[in-house]
Subunit: 454 residues, 2 copies
Amino acid sequence: MAQKPSTPKGMRDFLPHEVARRSYLIQTIKNQFEKFGFLPIETPAMERREVLFGKYGDEGDRLVFKVLNSGEKVKKADLDAFSEGQLSRFSNSISEKALRYDLTVPLARFVAQHQNDIQFPFKRYQVQSVWRADRPQHGRFQEFTQCDADVIGSDSRLVELEFVQLFDAVFTDLGLKGCTLRVNHRKILSLLAHQSGAEDRVASFLIILDKLDKIGWDGVIKSLKEEGFTTTLVEKLRASESTSMAPSQKIDVLADLIDPDGTSVAAFDEMRFLFSNFSLASLKVDFDWTLARGLDYYTGTIFEMAPPEQVKIGTIAAGGRYDDLTSAFGLSDMSGIGVSFGLDRLYLVLEELQLFPKHLAAPIDLMVVQFDQEIITQLMPLLHRLRSSGVKIIVYPNPTRLKKQFHYADKLGIPNVLVVGSEEFEKGQGVLKNMLTGNQKTISLEALDASFFQ
Amino acid sequence: MAQKPSTPKGMRDFLPHEVARRSYLIQTIKNQFEKFGFLPIETPAMERREVLFGKYGDEGDRLVFKVLNSGEKVKKADLDAFSEGQLSRFSNSISEKALRYDLTVPLARFVAQHQNDIQFPFKRYQVQSVWRADRPQHGRFQEFTQCDADVIGSDSRLVELEFVQLFDAVFTDLGLKGCTLRVNHRKILSLLAHQSGAEDRVASFLIILDKLDKIGWDGVIKSLKEEGFTTTLVEKLRASESTSMAPSQKIDVLADLIDPDGTSVAAFDEMRFLFSNFSLASLKVDFDWTLARGLDYYTGTIFEMAPPEQVKIGTIAAGGRYDDLTSAFGLSDMSGIGVSFGLDRLYLVLEELQLFPKHLAAPIDLMVVQFDQEIITQLMPLLHRLRSSGVKIIVYPNPTRLKKQFHYADKLGIPNVLVVGSEEFEKGQGVLKNMLTGNQKTISLEALDASFFQ
């Protein structure tokens, strides 16, 4: 019985023209990573389960894909946990590995593991897939590619500044204007939470604030009150807001309202330094005290990039500083900071705005028509010579109707077709047809070289 | 409590110098794939479980990693199967997806699913990771990268011939001489099995023959007898062997012995055609009637590439023709053939033979020393200009001791270091030091451009 061929939900195949566009994006981002001095690493798709869990918050933990133990090892299934409805404990009893959820926690593990083989400050980039058991929707997939750059082992605020320049350089290269980078600082948020009565419930406070986009201000205020937070300060901040204020003004107003005694002056100063030093070509950058970011591990500056307003899609790049992630793996005092570009969403943005270059390199330069197997085998030294000088050649594999072969070349967008019949072959000649202009000319096979296809 | 940072067994991290070498290998192979007219596709890491199972043989099925259903979906656990010791049925009840085991079965699924969006014959290449729950050992990993090229929808024997040329082209580009490609044909093997009394047990016969490397001839003959096969023919074939015979002679001798009536003349003719038409620069190619290949789906020509004799490692590339793989997904009459390069083993071979190029592009061209944050922010327009013209620059993030900063540049192999102290900066100057020669000179910052780093 034949099966219906399909991919798992939220996961996708990529056809050749899509791979070409994805490669263009990846190459553009990699080029800038390298210009900013980042070096590439790779980590395995799977990590030991305990490496990943407990780093992303409850919501994140739920979305990590677990890999089932192989063979006999499922015998360890904890049936008591199952019958008690402790599904997570049950799952853990038969699963030692999990698929990476992001590239940041694997990086922290990598840095701790290879600390004697790398140089600090460690600047690395990494372009790999990640997996999340999330509900699929437009721009949200269960498998997607992240392009990350991080610096581990420096608390310099210059690094934040360079990341803003890096964002700008990538978007400039992609011809993507009108993106907005929102910036905030976790210590400022934390101070706000404390002033609102959060004490040891800062995470709960941030989770509510993070829902602003979805539930609006009324919803946020209501939820905060329900959870027992005071909302006076949040309402004051909201009232003080004005879109016409420059970021540095916003920072000053915020500092006056939530930190009148200057106990967290360093965080505000970091923001002031950042906003007074960049010069940008493609980006808008704004300070936004409501930006929270979901992930648990951030401790300092946080970034979030929105696409141009006309494109209805979520965050396309984001990041932030995490002061203590490597200490979970036994390496302390290593402040880290990183950013991540979401390849799959960037793809949708460039597609919607028609920003992909029209011609991303001809995938095939020449098709050789086949009349007869014998002639093709005789042409092999010629094909070898042309390929050695860089020409991309497809030989039509079967001697089918000429019309069908030309249709194939046309469909694949192959710009040149070579026809060598037996009479021509005797004379050392062939007919080269330009599929774009329709022109064709008889040429000497001996004289045929790469210059015909440039 | 800090965790011990480690990767799961059989899975590896790649440091920057390893990524550079892997990229070199991948790029070399991709270039040749493109020169032979293959187009790139990608498929998801996970497939629906039923897509993968039943295609690789029992041994293969056992090595597929299953992904545990998320959240509530583990409630469907078949506890009866568990208590009856039916571990595989139990696993299946809580696992709908699995990680790809190779790139061939996903390709068959892809071709059936996208048959209206692609052109046949479909020539695709694919470079992605695969996962196998295999016992890790030297050159065998649980996660590794395959570089595959396949042609779907042509039964032309020219395709086999082009694959031999492709193997040769790749190894020539890598400077790897002395590899041996062994070739056989599943229909010939199948005929041999039938002549030895296999009837409907061809697979069992092949499994024993496939163990020749491990158990030797005595072991093979013994096992065949134990399984009730007759061994007269196998022993005759073995006696007829001589290393001095050319492949075409071997094919003739074999045909005489196992196919005196010429019932399978087509398979022998395919082999004769192949061996009389290639011309090679780096490879040895031999016909080997004992070559079986483990995977169930092969039906015609099979290939297996051994590294040069002095390197003790298994197969580094392999492939074959599969006449009917897409029909499992509802698309029949689509003969396919493909080859796969094992990136991770090729890496080990090139490393052992010291064949990697010494300089795989300088990862970073210039390090800027930091005395003082203020000067660096003032230098940003210069850095922007240099980066825009292609220079890869790292700014040392913190104003630490000069010695430490130079040590860092040295360790990372950065060839140039720029030092701009406050006095120099006032004069618009800096000191550029060549780390390889030790020479240093005072330069005008305004005049500094990409030509300094070529």
